[in-house]
Symmetry: none
């Protein structure tokens, strides 16, 4: 399924100031924003390892802000511009550390964003604390927000559960740092960018909060991890980056990425989006004849199917009739019930839930 390309200029890097460039984008044109802004690390002096080698910390000009109000103003400005570009039902992710994430989180709330989760990226291989004066700083924090409390955001619940072997995905993710072959290096062998994020992190973010062909915007593109993973997963992307050199590296990197040849492999199934099949259709189609008996799993309750797709049942609580859900709830004395899984029909000698008939109908619809 392709989405309208309100934004013509997808799959490219804009070089320039992200506040200005996002403000110029059409309002509400982007499905998701992923942002890895400067952390304002406030490192003082240099840090030496026990063997006296120097730790190559972040000391770039783009990470220096004169004070907290300056950082706050910058944060309000770029988040406001991102809000402009974001669709009303889109979501936004920001990653940060304790140096900046509390400023970011507060400002997100002040701007009207609605927090869905804070996510902890638990690093399996963090840098140790060389001085032994604090706990090893072994995680970073992502904040995931919708544009408002009422927004109908997208969340690939089933895909996340599948990724996690049938257990709900939690708010803490254990992933290694970006090292080895994945880490982009310059011709001198030095790392090309000091804060390159692992592709596995973006993989999970994009799979969780976008559909294929969705448009993803990254205003602090750096060496283009977001674009590389978006291309692989067949999402459209726009990157904004201030420095030509990073943009050049990112373009080369993304050009080398192969997108998945078979689109159906990235279109992960979701129960929620299946077409609705009323129970009556099964009766119309003759999959269940009027007069058929339905049972609960233990055959303690019997209901009869009527021609219009309603049920009638009788037990010690009285006589009940209505939809499969209403009658299922009534015979159990519960406020609600999923009739598709509660009611069973005779199949040979055993019972099968009526949901298998619905699945059969859904399968025929493809």
């Amino acid at each position: 399924m392709t989405r309208p390309t309100e934004n013509t200029a997808a799959n490219r890097i804009l070089v320039g100031d992200c506040i200005q460039l996002m403000s110029q984008m059409p309002a509400g044109s982007v499905d998701m924003v992923f942002a890895d802004p400067p952390y304002n690390l406030q490192l003082s002096g240099e840090l030496l390892r026990p063997n006296h080698s120097r730790v190559d910390g972040v000391d770039e000009e783009w990470d220096r802000f004169s004070d907290l109000p300056t950082y706050d103003r910058f944060t309000r400005d770029w988040l406001g511009a991102a809000r402009h570009a974001l669709k009303d039902d889109g979501t936004l992710w920001v990653i940060g550390s304790y140096h900046n994430i509390f400023r970011v989180g507060s400002i997100l709330q002040d701007l009207g964003f609605w927090i869905l989760n804070d996510i902890v990226w638990r690093k399996s291989n963090p840098m140790p604390n060389f001085k032994g004066r604090r706990f090893t700083n072994a995680h970073e924090t992502l904040i995931w927000v919708a544009k408002s409390r009422e927004a109908k955001y997208y969340f690939a619940y089933e895909a996340m559960k599948n990724l996690n072997e049938e257990l709900q995905m939690r708010s803490d993710w254990t992933l290694p740092l970006c090292t080895g072959a994945e880490r982009l290096r310059g011709e001198d062998g030095q790392k090309a960018h000091p804060t390159q994020k692992p592709e596995a992190l973006l993989y999970r973010v994009l799979l969780a909060a976008t559909r294929p062909d969705d448009l993803v915007l990254d205003p602090f593109f750096g060496t283009g991890t977001t674009g590389a993973v978006a291309k692989q997963l067949r999402r459209r992307w726009i990157g904004i980056e201030r420095e030509h050199e990073y943009a050049r590296l990112a373009n080369a990197r993304i050009a080398a990425v192969e997108e998945l040849a078979e689109p159906e492999l990235v279109d992960v199934p979701a129960r929620r989006t299946q077409p609705r099949v009323p129970f009556g259709h099964l009766v119309e189609r003759g999959l269940l004849k009027p007069g058929t008996n339905l049972f609960d799993q233990r055959r303690r309750v019997i209901a009869k199917v009527r021609a219009d797709g309603t049920l009638v049942a009788q037990n010690h609580l009285g006589q009940h009739s209505g939809s499969i859900h209403k009658v299922g709830a009534a015979v159990q004395g519960l406020p609600a019930c999923n009739g598709w899984t509660y009611w069973h029909f005779q199949e040979g000698k055993s019972l099968a839930p009526i949901d298998v008939l619905r699945q059969k109908v859904i399968a025929e619809m493809h």
Copy 2:
């Protein structure tokens, strides 16, 4: 080593407003503050579990604030009063969730506190997300601060390392919720306080940032977990609590605590939680790309990897999709199957079980 008792009234609960009472305390009289303030959860309506039972959410008067500015003002006021009571070389801890922790962190920085770490309490048994609309909210955040950038705070580096099997203690702590016998209950069997923290959490906090006989202040004392653990570890404590009933329960609880005869014997090894690696993580990490073919040992069955870590396969029994285990079972017509050993990937000219990839990931996690 005993410290001067500048503050005579130790080891007791003050009933009243913590802002007022902390302001009246002698300036710089407290070695450490631990605070578990209201989170301002802003819950609306009721939440039902899949079995239709009601979730007993926090709905106490003390957690209701009219808006964010009101919550911010409250936070600034109590943190300011705590700062007054805290020694210049003392430290302060605050625990919270995404609802409030960003407000707290920002205000801490605004007041001149210096962040030493943010700590993630990773809950081993959190409440699930019943509606499947977000990631399971499986952690809370603690912020640990000194009074200023220059302060000479105390950190028990060696004790923390010993607690963690000779490895540096990281900024993420895996601990269970407070349940079972530890949870205080009223005569009706209901929980006495909706947000009682586990003693193990306070144990680690107090061991990390205080010495024996240090004075610990908890301005939101509740049922007195901080006091109970402080007494056990031979720290002095002051609790402030607004509600008489909580104070009464806390007093009875702490009276029953025995302090350790030999504090140096409190070395409890941290349980290293054994890593579980879902198949989907191999896909995220790029060890197996979506679209890759997997085979049984004799290459008679082929399955394809999807982006969410599920497989699709087809044979004479039909088309199957789902987890590596489910599909492995289905293609063999068996009730169960260990997908890790059944499925193989192409490695050079031969096949290797996908379990070797899992072992690689597990090895990285140590």
